[in-house]
């Protein structure tokens, strides 16, 4: 794969550069063998376009170095006229230029590796029908747990569900007049939802690694993301209709269904009773408790409890300043009444 373009490029260049091309090929493939030595390959994401881009970059730079070499040779003659100072200045310039080239090459390689949006592209390759089907599937627990169930490694649905949960949470916080002291409403909502999605996914992935379950990180992110669909429905309904019993029914019913689905999929991918118990128990507990937390932490009823809990923690000078006139008034009134009674 590598030799064909190199040969084409070599054919188009001046004859003086032919020897360079031989050396170039040796560098890349270790002696012209057909086997590509993987140790020498950069760890790209597998796109061969990046390798081609690197090769073109090197070709361009060798061209530039050659041109520079010629220009440098012309300049050297001038430099000799200037004596030692001219030579050192020109050498310094070449060194600086070479360092700039190396730095630019490394920076562009790092940029194309990490800021390459194409890394995420395969995870967003979905159709609306598929998303809708997966949303509905996330509420239906599978029956077949002896055969590993397929999990689609897709990130569009989970990401949209997390953002929807953020929007619902904001609505709930606002209608219940939650007062956030250290931070903002928006920051709290985003931090909670994304923190849960990423944090619990990583934790369960780590547990799955310990329990020898067959699941990758992207699949875990996708599974937990779709599991938030039940949370979205429950919170959307119960933030608008404030009945505690309704919330408990939804918590057990809808939350339970989505938890059962996630647990069934994980069980189908784990071997051994203890491992299954650990993994699924943890996931079920965290998922159900999160829904409980979301309902109670941002709900009107708890507002009163929060206020009474925070009462004794208020700064003392405020309480004293407020209480003294009241107390003094009360004392004055009672003494006045007592005095009036005795008189």
């Amino acid at each position: 794969i590598m030799s064909a373009p190199a040969a084409a490029g070599g054919g188009g260049r001046s004859g003086a550069a032919a020897a360079d091309w031989g050396g170039f090929e040796d560098n890349m493939q270790g002696g012209g063998s057909a086997v590509i030595d993987m140790e020498n390959m950069d760890d790209t994401s597998g796109s061969s376009f990046e390798d081609m881009g690197e090769m073109h970059q090197r070709m361009k730079e060798e061209e530039e170095e050659e041109a520079e070499g010629e220009a440098g040779a012309a300049e050297e003659e001038d430099g000799e006229f200037l004596g030692m100072k001219g030579l050192r200045g020109q050498l310094g310039r070449q060194v600086a230029d070479q360092m700039w080239q190396v730095g630019k090459r490394q920076a562009s390689r790092a940029f194309s590796l990490y800021a390459n949006i194409d890394i995420l592209r395969p995870y967003f390759d979905v159709e609306p029908v598929q998303v809708r089907a997966r949303l509905l599937e996330s509420m239906i627990p599978v029956k077949m747990i002896n055969f590993p169930q397929k999990i689609a490694g897709e990130l569009y649905g989970p990401l949209m569900l997390v953002f929807t949960l953020v929007a619902i949470l904001l609505h709930g916080m606002k209608t219940s007049d939650t007062i956030i002291r250290e931070g903002t409403l928006m920051g709290t909502a985003i931090g909670t939802c994304f923190g849960y999605w990423l944090g619990v996914s990583s934790f369960i992935y780590f547990l799955a690694y310990l329990c020898n379950a067959q699941i990758t990180m992207v699949q875990m992110l996708s599974l937990l993301g779709y599991g938030l669909f039940g949370h979205c429905i429950t919170l959307f309904v119960t933030y608008n209709i404030h009945f505690h019993s309704l919330f408990y029914i939804f918590w057990l019913g809808v939350g339970g269904l989505s938890t059962l689905r996630m647990v069934a999929v994980l069980v189908s991918r784990t071997v051994g009773h203890t491992q299954r118990l650990i993994l699924c128990g943890t996931l079920a507990a965290l998922h159900m408790l999160f829904l409980l937390y979301l309902h109670f932490a941002y709900h009107k009823v708890v507002e009163g409890i929060l206020d009474t809990l925070e009462g004794p923690n208020m700064p003392p000078f405020q309480r004293v300043a407020r209480d003294i006139p009241v107390v003094s008034n009360a004392v004055l009134n009672t003494t006045a009444k007592a005095v009036a009674l005795t008189l």
Binding site: R121, Y156, F163, A167, K174, D177, I180, T184, L185
Partner: protein, 217 residues
């Protein structure tokens, strides 16, 4: 350019812009001539461009002018004015009921970036800044709604004013979403339009929610 073959513009888009035929050879001085013009000309040219885009947003017929000559002045002005109007205005720091300036700013720009990344990942043919430009300009109806809400709240804050505010905000939210969809959805493969429209809907929904629940302290 194989990628450009996928861009489909429907035939009812009016072609607009300026056609200038270069006369003779351009001397190097012409390239720098905008430095010598008075500041008023520069500002008026930019203001006129921004104003033309505002008109495009308010009457969203399918045109490519917004996409071709993108600029971020309009979104900046709209974002700053919206954030200023949405400030809580409460001197009491204990009761942070309203969104702060920085919060609104970050939400709008971060949300626009996320939607742009999403549309690019889904295979869109629109560039990063073009998408930011369109999303920013389509905040204009919601800024108008915020202005109207503030005026209505000056009159009183009862149930009637809430209903008026609700109607105005919902109407403007629908207008914003439709306007941005008219510009952005064309750049997507036809069967994935719904996947791109949903985050835009969510984005403008959050901004509308911030406007509707705004209560002056």
């Amino acid at each position: 350019f194989p990628g450009l073959a996928d861009v489909s513009i429907s035939e009812d888009i009016p072609v607009e812009g300026e056609i200038t035929v270069p006369v003779g050879s351009r001397s190097p001085d012409e390239d720098y001539s905008t430095l010598d013009e008075p500041v008023r000309d520069t500002i008026m040219r930019d203001l006129r461009a921004v104003g033309k885009k505002f008109v495009h947003v308010m009457y969203p017929k399918k045109s490519s002018a917004l996409l071709r000559d993108w600029d971020l002045w309009g979104p900046l002005v709209l974002c700053v004015s919206l954030a200023l109007m949405l400030q809580g205005g409460s001197a009491d720091s204990k009761d942070d009921g309203g969104p702060q300036f920085a919060e609104v700013f970050v939400i709008i720009w971060f949300g626009a970036v996320v939607i742009t990344l999403n549309s690019k990942l889904l295979g869109g043919t629109i560039s990063f800044f073009q998408s930011l430009c369109v999303l920013g300009y389509c905040v204009l109806p919601l800024t108008v709604a915020m202005l109207v809400c503030r005026l209505v709240l000056l009159a009183g804050s009862g149930t009637v004013s809430f209903i008026i505010r609700l109607i105005v905000v919902v109407a403007m939210f629908g207008w914003s979403t439709l306007a941005s969809t008219a510009f952005l959805a064309d750049s997507q493969p036809p069967n994935r339009k719904a996947l791109v429209v949903y985050p835009i809907f969510l984005f403008y929904f959050v901004i509308s929610w911030m406007i509707l629940t705004f209560t002056p302290q």
